[in-house]
């Protein structure tokens, strides 16, 4: 039992962590929390199943196509829901526009794909067991994402430009950085990461439209608790959340697990609205 708690917990936790990273990448480029983060994770599973099981593409090709589609959704998110409202004085409009866009995609998937969970293909011809690919694939993908982003941000010029935008977009623009294109690139990157999360966790979470709101919430919990913008915080928070949830699931039942996660989330945020690792509030007047 213990090993299946750990295996399931780390696998789902890795998916949550990657959705958290998706939130972060979009947030740092635009100061916008987008409801499309969970939708991207859902699409990763659905598109993977669509490309490989229904359209019979080879797994590698299906993988690339899924990530490309995720990136495309990311770009459309930026153009349709973020860019028009960024200029607006009313800072809350983005919550509504991204929510509307997320619902559009989710409902479209429910109607055109299926309202029932659909199977996700086995990606590698390996034997199963407690160390099955469905458990280590998401963990591997999560580790690759975190390390890849670290390298991107620290070692490449584009990555440093991303950081500059995240730190101070006015100053970055004054330096001549193409803010808008960088923002689009960030959203494309976030789209690909979100799709990767759903794809890697496909066998655990299945190809199911209702994964979108579920991932939206459980992906946001590590971000909110770990402090926004911190990918390492999201990774640690996500894995801890997955383990906690699975342990509670096995030991006391699923309801308690959800209630407990929710309660912890609310209590921590009420005590420290800026997250466990976040900084204090800014000046208001």
């Amino acid at each position: 039992m213990l090993e299946s708690i750990i295996a399931y917990g780390l696998a789902t936790g890795a998916v949550y962590a990657m959705i958290g990273v998706t939130y972060n990448v979009m947030f740092s480029a635009s100061r916008v929390f987008s409801f499309t983060a969970g939708v991207l994770g859902m699409l990763g599973g659905v598109l993977g199943s669509l490309f490989i099981l229904r359209l019979h593409l080879p797994a590698a090709l299906g993988f690339v196509a899924t990530l490309a589609a995720g990136a495309l959704v990311g770009i459309v998110t930026e153009i349709v829901t973020v860019r028009p409202v960024l200029k607006s004085l009313d800072q809350h409009l983005y919550v509504l526009s991204t929510l509307a866009f997320a619902l559009l995609i989710q409902q479209f998937t429910a109607i055109e794909w299926s309202t029932e969970p659909q199977p996700f293909p086995r990606l590698l011809p390996l034997p199963g067991g407690p160390l099955d690919q469905q458990f280590w694939l998401p963990i591997l993908a999560c580790a690759a994402t975190i390390i890849g982003l670290e390298l991107l941000y620290r070692r490449t010029l584009v990555g440093r430009a991303f950081l500059a935008i995240a730190e101070d977009s006015y100053a970055a623009r004054a330096l001549g950085l193409p803010e808008q294109r960088l923002r689009m690139a960030s959203y494309a990157l976030a789209g690909a990461i979100g799709a990767l999360a759903g794809f890697a966790g496909g066998e655990v979470l299945l190809a199911f439209f209702a994964n979108a709101p579920m991932l939206n919430f459980y992906g946001f919990v590590p971000v909110a608790l770990g402090g926004m913008g911190s990918n390492r915080g999201a990774a640690i928070g996500g894995l801890a959340l997955g383990l906690f949830q699975q342990a509670a699931n096995f030991l006391v039942g699923g309801i308690f697990a959800s209630v407990a996660v929710f309660a912890v989330f609310i209590v921590v945020l009420l005590a420290r609205p800026e997250g466990l690792a976040g900084a204090g509030t800014a000046r208001r007047v």
């Binding site: 809350h92 409902q107 919430f217 929710f262």
Partner: protein
Amino acid sequence: MDAPAPPRAPFGVTEPALVRPKSMATLEMAAPYIGLTLAAICLPLVSDDYWGGIATRACVYWVLVSGLNLVVGFAGQIAIGWVALLTLGAYTASVLTAGTATPELSPYLALILAGSAGAIFGVIVGLPALRLRTFYFAMTTLGFATIVTQVALAWGSVTGGGVGVAGPIFPGPFSTQWGFYYFCLILAALCTWMTANIAASRFGRGLIAIRDAEVAAEACGIAKPVLLMTVFLFSGAAAGVAGGLFASLQSYITPDAFTFDLSVLFFIAILIGGRGSILGPLLGTIILTVLPEFSAPLVAWSTFLYAALLLLIVLAIPGGIAELLDYKNRRPLERHREIVPRPDLLPRVLNRTIEAGPLILDGITLSFGGVRAIDALDLELRPGEVHGLIGPNGSGKTTTLNVISGYYPPQAGVARLNGIALPPGAAPLRASRRIARTFQTPRLIGGASVLQNVMIGGTIDGHGSFAESLLALPRHWRDETRLREAALSALSVVGLAQLGAVRADRLQHSELRFIEIARALMLRPAFLLLDEPAAGLSAEEIRRLGALIVAISHHGTGVLLVEHHADLIFDICDRITVLNLGRVLAVGTPAEIRSHREVVSAYLGA
């Protein structure tokens, strides 16, 4: 003092709405509601049972949406998981009447208890809104919605789990389909009336102020926690009652009946209707309920359609239906408007008898990070005096104002009014001490009328409670009449009475500055803090502003004036404090300051 003598109308507009008989204006506002009610009452004459069911559903939804509207449309809290409270109310009513856990109760009692349960959980769900920013709060409501359904599924012994439980059946005249329709219609009409009362009260204006100008709301003494919790309580109760009705309408409920799509419908009906409106969301609810009935494919695609509508509204018409209906605010305004303050009318506003002592800052120190914004600052403001606060950019002028008005708690030192220490960092408590202020950038509610904006300044002088406003009891009317009259007087004083009915975001910058002064005057302030009131004004307007400020001080109000226009400062101030790098460089009369060597070299320039 140079008050413009003849009280002429400064430009030839007929004064809108304000001078018309009040009954006419009320009738015009009530007309759409009366029309809708009549149509709803006559519905059984022209409609079959199928449409009767849809109309009942629209009524039930509106009972919930009317309450949620105060949360989303007025207070601006993004509560997207409100279906959770509908679920809770539905199960409470059904379980209590079915008697699975308790003795069987009467459906009416069960409905009341459903409302109570909704109210309690409304507050619990709402609590995080006090501390969390928009997206976080949206997420907590979303999380709550998921959990309630899971609990309903798992708690099989009480809720029947996936099998479900029968909804309550109301006895007597309400047992038939049309009887039940009228029952729901009465409750829906009641909710409309109650929320419209709130919308037109100081509580409704306070909610909009929290939504659009939170900082200014605090300066007006609006206590966000109390107000928000009251609204969550009411909204939760409405949702709980709606849940009980919903269960009865469905006649049998399972967790599947409460999809997230319903939440989306409620939420989007409000935004399509327009924030800060009652009629708009009412029409939105009717439209969204009826729309999918026109063709079968629309049923499956309804949530998709709602989402598309939401996206369209957010991107194209953020004001929603209410903005489309607001034809009055599309009439062009006079181009060349002139602001002619009437300081001679001040006695109507500042009819205060309280004699305040001085406001004294003693050794106030505040740093931001490594920067000492103000350093051991002493300052004395006397009643009836205009005190200028000048200094280069970054010398700590606005920070001083923010410490006095309680936005920043100082790290050392104390501010005393009349010898009693002001609680540090408690902005909403300043209004009751009669300390009013304006802001460097005017902080007004763009979507509300000028008159409403000014009335917000007098919020703390209302006596009626939320419940009294809800039911439009006498004290509510007395409050409203008094606040309206005071606001009209304050607007006349600053010379903008003719713009009272206009939406504030249509005015020009200089007018907004004067409206902020009118709002501050509503407090009958003992001390008035003005943060660069002359910025962006023409030379003539600055002269009139100066005369107005002097007149205000002659009524016993102490004025602290932060300004860069040296002429204005030296013309009207009784005393001047010069700041440099957070420290007092000099204090004295205008003549002393003008000849002060350090001031001249540091600031005024030789």
